[in-house]
Subunit: 198 residues, 2 copies
Amino acid sequence: MNGKLIVLSGPSGTGKSTVIASVMAQYPNLQFSVSATTRAMRPGETDGKDYFFVTRETFLQMLENGELLEHAEYVNNFYGTPEKAVNDALASGIDVLLDIEPQGALQVKARRDDAIMLFLAPPSIPILESRLRGRGDTSPEAVEKRLQQARWELSQAEKYDYIVVNDRVETATQEILAIITAEKCKTQDRIHRIKEEP
Amino acid sequence: MNGKLIVLSGPSGTGKSTVIASVMAQYPNLQFSVSATTRAMRPGETDGKDYFFVTRETFLQMLENGELLEHAEYVNNFYGTPEKAVNDALASGIDVLLDIEPQGALQVKARRDDAIMLFLAPPSIPILESRLRGRGDTSPEAVEKRLQQARWELSQAEKYDYIVVNDRVETATQEILAIITAEKCKTQDRIHRIKEEP
């Protein structure tokens, strides 16, 4: 049985990284797909673990070679998902979690019918805005751009299969794990279990 | 938010009652819908808890009054679900679990688009057959009728939304709870959470 392709998306500032770390800690059969990006590494990030940090030139070459499942430009940086690693994991029965911005997530949805689309929402819009303002690593113009981006991203939520609200990390984690379990119980994946043995 | 209507069905002998008791014990917001039946009470059963045990005449009167969400005849007995109690619980936000034979379950599916259809499957067909033969409370003819019925019921599994295999009661329980949780995360039920507050 192939693994499940799970796309977790949502605006910057909803706590995706924390929730993902929590899900990974509780569910070992899940592989986190490492994206390629042209943005600068932030303190605490590791190349090859958080992202593959690549130059703009390398990224465009990967794109031209058709090596990316999706890609997006976000606050003047490129982000993309190398497709081969995803397919290899799925074929060996491992579930794959993609953490991508909504712009890229909807490309995956369009290309792959089997993708399970999860939107991670903030507890409320004011809380999200306060988080985006409070990061302190960017200019007021960049913050305003982020807010505009977040509003657009929130408007895309209805295109997803599921919405998980990140009120509490543990609740969000349990909901994501439940969604993965439920998807594996869907009739199309289980019907072979009840065919009469010869 | 209205409760969820969950239909759990599957052949006699898959262990539905045991699994349902386990689910109910772990999930208090779930109301078990008590069916009406014309079959004789079995040892250990309680009227009004396991079933409403009614006469054939009473049952046909309920049917004529349009009081039943579904009904079925099974091994010469009638079974049916009184609809009002189901609707009252759903309207007050309580999830309702219906335990019905596949014949009745598919009537619910046809009438109510919101019903979540779960098929509880036996670990294997030989195990199911052995359970049906081993009950010892019926004649060989009745056993053969049950086996035929079970084969037809298994052939209906593909019409359900989910298939839960009752290998182990605890695993089946966790899968059913995960399905209920996941269904509550579906976008249509959650989209109101991310509309911008005024």
